[in-house]
Symmetry: C2
Subunit: 433 residues, 2 copies
Amino acid sequence: MANDTNSRIIRVGLLGCGNVGGALVPLIEQQADVIEARTGLRLEVVRVAVRNMSRDRGLTFGDDVLTRDAYAVVADPDIDIVVEVIGGIEPARELIMTALAAGKPVITGNKELLANVGAELFAAADTNGVDLLFEAAVAGGIPLIRPLRESLRGEPITRVVGILNGTTNFILTKMSEEGAEYGEALAEAQELGYAERDPTADVEGYDAGAKVAIIASIAFGARVVAGDVYHEGISGITAADIAVAKRLGYVVKLLGIAERDVASGEVAVRVHPAMVPLHHPLASVRESYNAVFVEGDAVGQLMFYGRGAGGAPTASAVLGDLIDAAVNLSKGAHGSLGSFAKAVIRPIDETSSEYLLSLEVADQPGVLHAVTGAFAANGVSIRAAEQEGIGPDARLVFITHLAREADVQATVRALRELDVVRHIGGFIRVIGS
Amino acid sequence: MANDTNSRIIRVGLLGCGNVGGALVPLIEQQADVIEARTGLRLEVVRVAVRNMSRDRGLTFGDDVLTRDAYAVVADPDIDIVVEVIGGIEPARELIMTALAAGKPVITGNKELLANVGAELFAAADTNGVDLLFEAAVAGGIPLIRPLRESLRGEPITRVVGILNGTTNFILTKMSEEGAEYGEALAEAQELGYAERDPTADVEGYDAGAKVAIIASIAFGARVVAGDVYHEGISGITAADIAVAKRLGYVVKLLGIAERDVASGEVAVRVHPAMVPLHHPLASVRESYNAVFVEGDAVGQLMFYGRGAGGAPTASAVLGDLIDAAVNLSKGAHGSLGSFAKAVIRPIDETSSEYLLSLEVADQPGVLHAVTGAFAANGVSIRAAEQEGIGPDARLVFITHLAREADVQATVRALRELDVVRHIGGFIRVIGS
C-alpha cells in the first residue's frame, strides 16, 4: 500500500537494537500498512542508537539511521517518540528524562530502571504532559500493565501472584516433570539459552523482584521499589522437595507476590518458591511461560498468561505502546498514571502464609512429641503431618495452617536446637487452596 | 475522606439496575475515594432508570435518583456519562445513539446490541468524538477488549479461541468430571442458577456467537456481526463422546473461534464443541470460568482467564471503562476504535480443522476397508484409528489430519450410505496440538 498522503508520519527514535529492538524494527515495517489503515498514522523508525555499528543484525538501514550517539537521537527535533530498550539504569535514565523534558513520549521495557527510579520518571512524564509507557518491562508480551492501569483502575485489588521469570519456571518444570536435580536443570537451561552464564539475577529472584515492585506500584497506586521486595531464590530447592510437593498434590513455582492489607493499607512484596495446588490456574503454567494471577474483591480471580520474554513477544508489547503514544500524540492527548501514594511496606516477618516443613529425624520414641512441641510453643498450628520412610531415613513432613512468618522462623530455630532433628530439608511456603 | 474541593464531580446516569447495575452502584460508592485520590475525579451515580420502581434492590437512593424514564436520564444536561446495562437491541440502541449525539460518553455491557449494530454505534461515537466503551460485553470481568483494542493493536493476530460461555463450560465440566449425561448436568446448572429455564441461548452457542463476533471485529478491525457466526451447540454431546475424548487425552469445550487467513484476509467465525488437548491452557478452565486464547505472529500465545459473568465481575469491567471515560472527558479527549474494514467471511465449509468421528459398525470382515474408503474418496487423511469393543458393540474412532470441513461433511454423508455403518455417534472438531 502506498503511503496515504493524508496520513501523518510518526518518526521513532530507537535506543538499543539487540534482541527486542532487532525484532521491533521489522515488526513495525511489516505492520505499518495495517496500523496506518486503522489509525491514519504511519510509524517510521528513522534513527537507531547502537553501541556497535558494525554488528550484523540481519537488518538493512538507510543512510544516517544508525548512530552511536543516543543523546543525539533523543535531541533530534525530527524524532517524535523515543523507544528505550538499552536496559540498565544509566544512561537510560538520563536519556528518558531528556526526552520527556523535550515533550517526547517514551516507551521503555526497562524493568531495572522502573523498579528503582520509576517514581521520578512517572512524575517527569506527568509534569511534561507526555506518555511514558512500559508494558514490555513486566511479563514481556503479556498485556498486564495496561489492564492494571486502566481496566482495573477502580478494582479493589487485594493480591497479585505471578510466575514472572521464564528461566526459573523452565528449571522448575524440568525438575518437576523429569525428576532432574537443580544443577542439571540449570545446565540444560543454559545450553538452550534460557539462562545466562551467571544465572544469579534469575535464580535468586532479583529479576522477578524488580517486576513485582512495578506490579505493586501500578496495582496499588503506591511507590514500591526493588529494594522493598523480600527475595528467596530456587537454588536451594531439591528434587526431594519437589517429589514431596507432588505427592501432596502441589507443584513448586517461583512466585512474585504483591499483597495489600485492606484495613491498614500496608503493602507486602516478596519473591520466593511456593507450593501451588495442582488445580490452581498457575500450576499448569509450564516451561518458560509466564502468568500473572490477580485477585480483586469485585472481579474475583483473573489470570494473564503468555510469553514473558523473547525478542518478538517483547517487541509486540513495545509496538502496542508505540501505537498508543502515537495516537495520543496526534490528538495532543496523553495518558496519566495518576498520583502514587507513599507505600507502607509490611516486612516479611509480619506476612502470613501456610508452610511446608520437611525434617530428617532420629528414629526413636518421643520424636513426634518433641517436634510438635516446637510448633506449639511458637503458636504455629499444624494442618497435616506425615512420616515418610522408616529407620535412619525417617522424614517428617508438616503443612501448617496460616501462620505468621516470624512465628514459623522461630519454630525453625527451635527445631534446629532439638537433638532429634538431624536436618531441615525443606521449607517452602504454600499458596492456600 | 471528605470530597476534595479541587476534584471534579462526574455525574453518571445508569440505565438498568439489575444484576450488573445493582453491583455497580455500591462498588462506585466503595471505591469513590480511591478513584478520586488517583484521578482527581469523583464518580457519582445521580440518576438510575429502572423498569420497576418498587423492586427491592437492597440499595438506598436519594430523592429523584430512581426514574422509569430512561430517555429523561439520557437527555438530562446534568448527566456527564451514561452506563447502559438494560440489554437487548431496542430501546438500548436509541438511548445510546441519543447520548452519543449529545456528546455523552457511553459504557455498555450489551453484547447483543454490539454484535448486531456495533458498526453503527462505533461510527456515531467517532463522529461525535466521544467514548463508547464495552469491556463488560465480552467475557464479563476479564480485561479483553482493552488489550485487543490497545495493547495488541499492532499485533498480527491470527486466531482467537475462547471459552466464552460459563453455563456450557459448567455443564461440560460436570459431564467430564462426574460422568454426567447432558440432561443431568443441565438440570444441575439450572438448579444452581447458572442456566436459564430456557437454556437455548447458552447451550446452542448464540451467546458465545455474539461475543465471538465482537472479538473478531476488534481483533481484526473488520465488521463482523452475529449473523456471520456459524453455530453448533452442546446439546448433542454425550457422556460417551466425552469418555472417548478423555481416553485420547482431550477435554470437550464449547469454543468460540475467530480466525483470519493472512493471505486472503478472509475471516472465519464459528462456535462449536471441540476436543482440546489436556496440556493446552484452555483445557484447565473449569466450572463457569471463561478464558480467551489469542495467537499472534509476534506475541505468540496469550491467554486471559477469569469470571465471564456475574454481577460483581461485570460491574468491575464497567467501572474500569467508566473511569477511563471520566478521565478522557475531564481532559477533553476520547479513545477511538479506528476504522473497520468490510469483513469477507469464509464460510464454514471452507474452514479446516482436525476431526474426531466415532462410528458404530457391524462386526464383519471388510468393515475397516469400506469405512476408510469413504475417507480416501473425499481426500480426508486419517491420523489415528482405533477399535473399541468387539462384536455388536464394536465402535471405530478416527481422528483426521487437518481437513476441509466440506470434505469431512462429504465423508460423513458417504459413511451414512454404507450398510456396515450403523450409527455415527460422535463428530467433534479437534483443536490441534
